[in-house]
């Protein structure tokens, strides 16, 4: 029996050693890579450690611990541009707190979102639901919001009725709550956090730096004016390092050799000169996580069994499609008649300095061009030109200058062109088989 156990444990040690150098076929490796990286880029999986926000992290943990453990009410706003990592910061803080048993036992959480709870009434129903108090409330009718909230918090009192359980209110898209009528929800939450009714913590997340301007005076006075800013002060080398960490695979990947090769390839990628130029362009436009994830997602979509690495060409292509001018892409697909109309509009804009025009004026300008040219290739009837004009309106390349469309005939309605000079000239350069007389007409009105 003893020998059997020894043999068994020996075999286990052997298999463990073998497992360290396990090799998966390349197809499965790529699948695993996609699985892991897609969770990271698309599903915003919480990383193990957040970088660059240690101070803010510590501050928030302290604050929430005080509420959860010591029953102290608090309110704080986390402010930062879109994609800066506000929700990630909060989730990481909550994860850390849940490891403290006292917090895990006591703290109740209510998560509200300004996009979903568009009304204070809906918000109150959601709070009731998330605190699991629907049965307690039943069919009771309350006189005011404050009464309802007080009742809910009262119902959370512990058995010995000494104090209520601490509640954490997370308000995502906080600035949208400020647009509700009278800001009732905000007023009451902050009121409770200032008075000694029940220990609550109110954490608001918003992308507006001027969020305090949106609050009414009575709401603002009850707010603790505590703000945590996530304005990224990243330098370019830190940004490149972040790209490298985002693309690297974790060590617990099943195939050790593949992971080493992959991570080495990622490191060489980040040192490549052309990649550096691309990353610098993106760094200069926005440093946040979301645009980075979009870029890396486009690169990831090109990783396959046939090409199991990310090459600099991938990054260049991804960058090009991220930064492409969408309007120029649409101009590429216009018919020649529509292009002629746009050139005519451009000339009208040049001569009359941006004043609105109508179809008759555009047609007139077009006719002047046709008179100069001998061939009648573009000699179309007015209704055909009207149809092309309407197509441009549907694409929103031209928009009505004012909204009085009821009483004027269609051909006399004033419009404005939503493209500028350089976009039109660039589109003409890229247009497939653009006739030369059109190009000449575009450069000079008298060609």
């Amino acid at each position: 029996m003893y020998l059997y156990v020894l043999q068994f444990s020996f075999l286990r040690i052997m298999s463990k050693r073998k497992a360290k150098e396990a090799h998966l076929p390349i197809g499965e490796c790529i699948d695993q890579v996609h699985l892991i990286l897609r969770k990271r880029f698309c599903h915003q999986q919480l990383p193990d450690k957040l970088e660059g926000v240690e101070a803010q992290h510590k501050h928030l943990v302290e604050l929430l611990k005080r509420t959860a453990v010591h029953g102290e009410s608090n309110s704080v706003l986390i402010v930062g541009p879109r994609g800066a990592g506000k929700t990630t910061l909060l989730r990481s803080v909550l994860r850390e707190l849940s490891e403290v048993t006292e917090v895990q036992k006591n703290l109740l959480q209510v998560h509200l979102n300004g996009l979903l709870q568009t009304d204070d009434r809906i918000a109150l129903k959601e709070i009731t639901r998330q605190l699991h108090l629907e049965n307690v409330v039943g069919d009771r009718v309350f006189g005011s919001f404050a009464e309802n909230l007080a009742f809910l918090l009262d119902a959370l009192k512990k058995g010995d009725r000494s104090s209520s359980r601490p509640v954490l209110f997370v308000l995502d898209e906080f600035d949208l709550f400020a647009h509700h009528k009278n800001q009732t929800l905000l007023y009451n939450l902050f009121d409770v956090s200032q008075s000694a009714q029940a220990p609550i913590a109110v954490v608001g997340l918003t992308c507006r730096l001027d969020v305090l301007e949106l609050l009414e005076k009575r709401v603002k006075s009850r707010f603790s004016h505590r703000q945590i800013h996530l304005l990224s002060s990243l330098t370019f080398p830190q940004y490149v390092a972040r790209v490298q960490t985002q693309l690297s695979l974790p060590d617990d990947f099943p195939d050790g050799k593949f992971v080493r090769e992959w991570n080495a390839a990622v490191a060489t990628l980040c040192e490549d000169k052309s990649v550096e130029d691309v990353l610098r362009r993106h760094f200069n436009s926005s440093k946040d996580f979301r645009s980075l994830h979009m870029l890396l997602m486009l690169c990831l979509s090109r990783v396959s069994v046939a090409k199991p690495v990310i090459t600099p060409a991938d990054l260049l292509d991804a960058s090009r499609s991220c930064l492409a001018d969408a309007q120029a892409n649409m101009l590429h697909g216009l018919s020649i008649l529509e292009l002629c109309l746009i050139i005519a509009m451009k000339h009208l804009n040049d001569v009359y300095e941006g004043e609105p025009f109508n179809l008759q004026m555009v047609h007139n300008e077009f006719k002047k061009f046709l008179q100069r040219k001998s061939n009648s290739m573009y000699n179309f009837e007015q209704p055909v030109i009207m149809k092309a004009f309407e197509h441009l309106q549907q694409l929103e390349l031209i928009q009505p200058a004012d909204s009085s469309s009821a009483k004027t005939q269609r051909e006399y309605q004033l419009m404005r062109l939503m493209l500028d000079h350089s976009q039109i000239m660039e589109a003409l350069q890229k247009y497939p088989q653009c006739p030369t007389d059109l190009k000449q007409w575009a450069t000079s009105a008298f060609a």
Binding site: G114, L115, C207, M297, S321, Q360, M377, Y378, Q409, Y412
Partner: protein, 442 residues
């Protein structure tokens, strides 16, 4: 990036069927599929596909969803005029009618997310679920919070769901003021002339050879390509005019290879089509009947406004046109028998931009209309009620527009709503030379 046929995780046979149904769109379909990834992996929460109409956006997405049997729901924003319809349809497709029945009356998006979360915790997604929204530009007119919420639906419901928006308007015009979750943009470029030819040639008629049909398509594109590059319109025109093209061959007057003769036969026909069927002035049925009976002139929809007017109504209309397009100070010169000396310089100062025929008709009071009418009509006519009732019927026919408020009964103001061609045709019938009386043509 793997080609369309090499995507892992999907059945090869289905991928082959997909690529057969998507000519000239293999590249875009491959890109879309590589972004979607394998069904059990996560996809980016929102994708925005933009491109001209008939560039294959809905077609590619629908073919991919159907052939690869992915759990999806296609919503046209034209049909879903209220958010409740959208919520119901999504819950019905993903979780069945029990889930859809749980939605309260006039549900808010909060109810929708709550019910979705409940259902997805019971039935978690084993494959990515897709919500495809066509004509997504109409979402901008819905509630302000609907579009941002849909873009981050994956995060809000914590499920493997992805929203695909299809539109012909670019994303820059969608973005809300305070920003939102940016979707991944994917562009479907327009078809080139060669690709259009390739796709249109697939509709070839079985009783004729493929080269014959492609020469027909060549001629059709030669006439219509400068004006229209919309695949659907071109297919419609090709289908309508093919029988006319085959007429000489069927009658034995020409052989299939004599392209010049066939071209001479069909070209005037196609030019007429551009003025009628292309503009939807006549229906396709009328067009086909016309081909069979070789009737004379085809009366289009705009031709129906050439109603036969009574004699005095025609003069009233002419007077209204003159009142709209001539400035008031020039009336003396045109309509008085002895207008005396008028300073030429002030009178003839015209800026091309202020030509009234470019700016549109101007409103005029009823008195001015009657004054011009009496000077233009050659016989003596009494101001009876029948004259005034004719003015009202002209307004009903929408040849005149009432500009003043309905309450103003004593000095109503009108505008003339007809074009120069129309009024020239009318004045010809009464032997009146209108161009002589128009200020812009002096």
């Amino acid at each position: 990036m793997a080609g369309l046929l090499d995507q892992p995780g999907y059945d090869e046979e289905s991928l082959r069927r997909v690529s057969e149904q998507l000519p000239c769109r293999e590249l875009q379909a491959g890109m879309l599929l590589s972004l979607m990834g394998q069904p059990q992996q996560y996809c980016y929460p929102s994708l925005f596909i933009y491109g001209h109409r008939s560039s294959g956006k809905s077609h590619v997405v629908n073919v991919l969803m159907k052939e690869l049997e992915l759990p999806h729901t296609t919503v046209s924003c034209v049909e879903c005029i209220s958010a409740a319809l959208l919520f119901e349809q999504v819950l019905l497709s993903f979780f069945g009618c029990d889930a859809a029945a749980q939605l309260p009356r006039s549900p808010s998006i909060s109810d929708f997310v709550r019910i979705y979360r409940q259902q997805s915790s019971q039935f978690p997604a084993k494959q990515t679920r897709f919500i495809v929204m066509e004509k997504a530009e109409l979402l901008r007119d819905a509630d302000a919070n609907l579009l941002p919420a849909l873009l981050r639906l994956q995060e809000l419901v914590d499920d493997n769901v992805s929203v695909v928006l299809l539109s012909e308007i670019v994303w820059d015009k969608f973005r809300p003021n305070t920003g939102c979750f940016e979707p991944l943009l994917l562009h479907f470029p327009d078809y080139s002339k060669g690709e259009l030819q390739q796709i249109l040639s697939k509709d070839c008629h079985p009783s004729y050879s493929a080269e014959f049909y492609s020469s027909y398509i060549n001629i059709l594109l030669g006439v219509f390509y400068t004006v229209c590059r919309d695949l659907r319109e071109l297919r419609h025109l090709a289908a309508l005019n093919f029988s006319k093209f085959c007429e000489p061959v069927a009658a034995g007057k020409a052989k299939e290879t004599e392209t010049h003769k066939l071209w001479k036969n069909i070209e005037p026909h196609l030019k007429k089509a551009m003025q009628t069927v292309y503009l939807r002035e006549v229906s396709s049925l009328q067009w086909e009947q016309m081909e069979e009976h070789e009737a004379g002139a085809l009366r289009g929809l705009s031709a129906h406004t050439h109603v036969e007017l009574p004699y005095y109504s025609k003069f009233l209309l002419i007077a209204a046109y003159l009142a709209s397009y001539n400035p008031a100070r020039t009336d003396k010169r045109f309509f008085l028998k002895h207008h005396g000396k008028i300073k030429k310089t002030n009178f003839l100062k015209k800026n091309e931009k202020t030509s009234n025929h470019l700016l549109g008709p101007k409103p005029f009071p009823l008195d001015r209309l009657l004054a011009i009418f009496y000077s233009v009509v050659d016989s003596r006519v009494a101001p009876t009620a029948s004259i005034f009732s004719q003015i009202s019927s002209l307004v009903t026919l929408q040849l005149l527009t009432l500009v003043s408020h309905d309450d103003q009964l004593d000095t109503p103001k009108y505008k003339c709503a007809v074009s120069l061609d129309f009024i020239s045709a009318i004045s010809r019938t009464v032997n009146f030379d209108i161009v002589k009386y128009l200020y812009d043509f002096l």
